[in-house]
């Protein structure tokens, strides 16, 4: 590194510390560490420097000249950005709104990862992953051909058009890997009388890149997608992936400011409404014993926990064994924020733990509403005896509505 570069890196770090030291101190000076026991990564590594509180303390130590971004960059890999720590923090619970001092660990992790990238401290697997995404414009989902020619292949034979006021945004994992999910969603929307179209050219939402610290790449993708939405006159975007929902409701407004004019809807909220209004009939019984996995980005990050439960309770024949959404603050699949790319063994351990909790309820089915959770959870469920199947809530809805989802 030349001296110019090193000064630049030093400036970036100083600027970062200046911005984050007071919020970090709000955590540092809070004596208790209630966050630690709900943190999915801490639950499996038991390593204190992977804990949410350490992510804040590091910044105080950086201000004191004790640590640099090079000393801490790798620690910040150990986060799924599930947001449980923020909810469990006494600061958030007791005084957060009054002082607008809600603990913001997710933002801190994203910012530190961005500083690491800016400082040339890249994680090898994330770097490869981002390069492949830049190249293909969609996430490099394993073992399947990912490219713009294939991005809407999941919709073959459904007769869907591009354009319209309402757009269905199908994230990369669903578009290329779990194609039964977007097909089910398309049939449900059609059965419920919701008119919708697809994008002309859909790139990755850019959310994962932002989560890993690659902000410029994330913005570039966002700008492409928003330009496409505007060009086709879209007003409302339906997401079936909670990660997209977060990206479109949190990252995009930051990028585009007040000019960002879109209504973002998550499919669970929309389908719950269709069922409630009688526009979608769930009449075919599903004789299974099931529990529900609250996706972190719906429950913990966005407070969406009622609509999926409402839908599950409307499915006839289903023996639904619930775990309340607050208990599920401590649950996660481990798939979020790139953990599964850089530390797949931790994702496996976290998913395994989630399945252990499901098994305590004697269920044979774990229902999720997050497509990214389904691959590791499915794998963990298959390795159990007795086996626990993992399905997406929308796949169940389609089945109960009598819609035949052909692959």
């Amino acid at each position: 590194m030349s001296s110019d570069e090193s000064t630049e890196a030093g400036d970036a770090q100083r600027e970062f510390v200046e911005q984050w030291r007071d919020p970090a101190y709000n955590c540092f000076s809070s004596g208790h560490k209630f966050c630690r026991n709900v943190c999915p990564v801490m639950q499996v590594t038991r390593n204190e420097n992977h804990s949410p509180t350490a992510f804040h303390a590091n910044i105080v130590a950086m201000e004191q000249g004790g640590l640099t971004v090079a000393d801490v960059a790798e620690d910040y890999v150990h986060c799924t950005q599930c947001g449980a720590c923020e909810l469990r923090c006494p600061n958030t619970l007791m005084a957060g709104d009054f002082y607008r001092a809600r603990t913001r660990t997710v933002d801190v992790v994203k910012a530190m990862r961005a500083l690491a990238v800016e400082s040339g401290l890249e994680q090898p697997n994330w770097k490869r992953w981002v390069e492949a995404t830049v190249d293909r414009k969609n996430e490099p989902v394993l073992d399947v051909p990912v490219s713009q020619e294939n991005v809407a292949k999941w919709a073959e034979g459904l007769g869907l058009e591009a354009g319209g006021e309402t757009i269905l945004f199908v994230d990369c994992e669903a578009a290329f890997y779990r194609t039964s999910l977007p097909r089910a969603v398309a049939l449900i929307l059609r059965a419920g009388g919701v008119e919708f179209g697809l994008m002309r050219e859909q790139w990755c939402c850019g959310g994962p890149a932002a989560e890993m610290g690659y902000v410029a790449q994330s913005r570039e993708f966002a700008e492409h997608n928003v330009a496409d939405w505007r060009a086709i006159g879209a007003r409302r975007i339906i997401t079936l992936d909670p990660h997209d929902y977060i990206t479109f409701t949190e990252d995009y407004p930051r990028y585009f400011g007040p000019a960002y004019e879109f209504e973002i809807v998550h499919i669970t909220e929309l389908v719950a409404e269709l069922v409630r209004d009688g526009k979608l009939q769930l009449s075919k019984p599903i004789e299974r014993v099931a529990t529900y996995h609250d996706p972190c980005r719906l429950n913990k990050r966005k407070g969406i926990h009622q609509s999926p439960r409402e839908i599950l309770r409307a499915i006839p024949g289903l023996d639904f064994r619930d775990v309340d959404h607050v208990t599920q603050w401590a649950y996660c699949s481990g798939a979020g924020a790139g953990l599964s790319i850089e530390r797949p063994e931790l994702t496996r351990a976290i998913s395994g733990q989630r399945l252990d909790r499901a098994a305590q309820l004697d269920v044979d089915l774990l229902v999720s509403a997050c497509v990214w959770s389904e691959r590791p959870l499915t794998e963990a469920g298959e390795h159990r005896e007795p086996r626990i199947e993992v399905r997406d809530l929308m796949e169940l809805v389609a089945e109960s509505a009598g819609l035949e989802v052909t692959p």
């Binding site: 809070s30 560490k33 350490a54 130590a61 469990r88």
Partner: protein, 500 residues
């Protein structure tokens, strides 16, 4: 990258014991295992950093690490959750930081003899989640219940908020396994029993390992007492116009003689002001209120229901106004959550700045509470006036054994300190403030600490004065068990044991 702070030979030996995954030499791993929640000289953080962090999983690994340290005369500092308030888990002389968080197994649940055997890195809330379906619980309930761990509870001899009913940590541990400073593994209990609660064979050694703060070894397993989950709970909050009436009422409630009484807590005017500050979860109470007494009972319905009626009568007849069911039932959680809100810090000007919570937690007799109350606030006020980095977050008192009329009290003054503005002068002032508070405690026949330990800078200076000849016994024990002074050296002034 970061240069390693230990020699290759020590590193290799530790990796041989634990594998590479269990030996952390990175700077962030070491810096993050330095701090505990007590106010800390942040500007001198670098002075308290260990040289290496180890994450053992088994007793044998701990024993091997301690044997290595003893052979090479390296300091070993045990650390569980690191939520203690007396710096017990903060290394003073570098060395090996022995983090027990990976030792979090439940080894045995014995429902017949009602014990559970666990490793020290287990948290109480997690343990009770597992015990709940069996209808039993481990009734140790510190304010840090959701995050503190068994090992730290033993090391600091923790206080339980429902301890008046069920006993405190030291009463709830039947026996424990300890790796001594020279690496031997011993079981310490009543006599030689593992699950026996009371025996009279030999010396009663068990209490020696409560509150030693890692100076006498490392706890690697503990057999804990289980109790039935209570059928009934009752809580009542009473309000008062002045502290003296509230204090007299506290005494009357505590002398009621009910075994189901789990605690009687007295909050003063400063504490109420702190709790009232912009706290979104705080249930509003009338302005005339200057003091509050909270009572809790746990037990079988046959006991709690009639006792609750009597407690209500005593509370009212001794001058209390019942504050209603909403406050009484809804605010009890304050005990677990409310002490850690840095945004409740205020400068003398009223400006809000984030402050850390510090508490001086003396054990005092009931009779002296009003005098101590007055003198402590006067000390805090002088420091607030002069230095602009402190705030008075009030005093609360809590009974230690409500059914015993002679029961002493945990009396705690909570002081906010603005660590971001600390320098050597501010830190020195802070230590003097604590010394003055401690002097008042000793003047009134109290003990420096009821539950956190007295090994913090400032407080620790008075340990020889409080204990007198007993401190010489402590030194003899320390030197006998730890001939090379490897276990948490520098704590409790025990280095004096090695001065000829």
């Amino acid at each position: 990258m970061t240069e390693r702070a230990i020699s290759d030979a020590v590193y290799d030996e530790l990796v041989g014991i634990l594998g590479p995954d269990g030996v952390l030499t990175g700077k962030s791993a070491r810096w993050n295992r330095t701090r505990v929640p007590a106010p800390f000289p942040v500007h001198r953080w670098h002075e308290h950093v260990p040289d290496v962090v180890v994450l053992p999983r088994t007793t044998e690994q701990v024993a091997e690490i301690v044997r290595l340290a003893n052979r090479r005369k390296l300091p070993v500092v045990p650390r569980a959750a690191g939520t203690g308030l007396t710096d017990g888990a903060t290394p003073l002389n570098g060395g090996i930081l022995l983090d027990v968080k990976r030792m979090n197994e439940i080894r045995e649940i014995d429902l017949l003899d009602r014990t559970v055997t666990v490793q020290p890195g287990l948290n109480m809330l997690k343990l009770n989640e597992v015990l709940q379906p069996h209808g039993v619980m481990f009734p140790d309930d510190p304010a840090s219940y959701p995050c503190s761990m068994i090992g730290g509870r033993i090391g600091t001899s923790g206080w339980s908020l429902i301890g008046a009913r069920y006993g405190h940590t030291r009463d709830l541990v039947c026996s424990l396994e300890v790796v001594l400073p020279t690496g031997e593994v011993v079981r310490i209990g009543e006599g030689g029993g593992r699950k026996v609660r009371k025996a009279s064979t030999g010396f009663t050694l068990k209490p020696l390992f409560f509150g030693h703060e890692g100076t006498l070894g490392v706890v690697t397993e503990a057999t804990l007492e289980l109790v039935p989950r209570p059928q009934a709970e009752f809580a009542a909050f009473f309000g008062y116009r002045d502290y003296d009436t509230a204090w007299r009422s506290t005494g009357a409630l505590a002398r009621s003689g009910f075994a189901t009484l789990a605690g009687v807590v007295l909050f003063d005017e400063w504490k109420l002001a702190y709790l009232r500050r912009d706290d979104e979860a705080y249930i509003e109470q009338p302005d005339w209120l200057k003091s509050v007494v909270a009572v809790a009972m746990y037990g079988n319905e046959a006991e709690v229901v009639p006792a609750a009626r009597e407690i209500m009568r005593i509370g009212r007849e001794s001058g209390g106004t019942y504050l209603g069911d909403e406050v009484s039932q809804g605010d009890w959680a304050a005990r677990h959550d409310r002490y850690a809100i840095p945004l409740h810090g205020r400068l003398r000007s009223g400006e809000v700045v984030p402050m850390s919570w510090h508490c001086e937690d003396a054990a005092l007799n009931y009779s002296v509470l009003p005098q101590v109350h007055e003198e402590w606030h006067a000390i805090a006020d002088r420091y607030i006036e002069r230095y602009g980095i402190f705030d008075d977050w009030g005093i609360f008192a809590y009974t230690n054994g409500a059914y015993k009329p002679w029961g002493d009290y945990l009396v705690e003054i909570d002081i906010g300190i603005w660590e971001q503005r600390l320098d050597d002068e501010g830190w020195a002032a802070w230590l003097n403030c604590k010394r003055e508070i401690t002097e008042v405690t000793l003047k009134y026949g109290g003990s420096i600490s009821a539950c956190h330990g007295a090994s913090r800078a400032g407080d620790v200076d008075y340990v020889p004065q409080e204990l007198g000849g007993a401190f010489d016994v402590m030194k003899k024990i320390k030197r006998t068990l730890d001939p090379n002074n490897v276990m948490n050296p520098g704590k409790y002034l025990l280095d004096q044991a090695y001065e000829d």
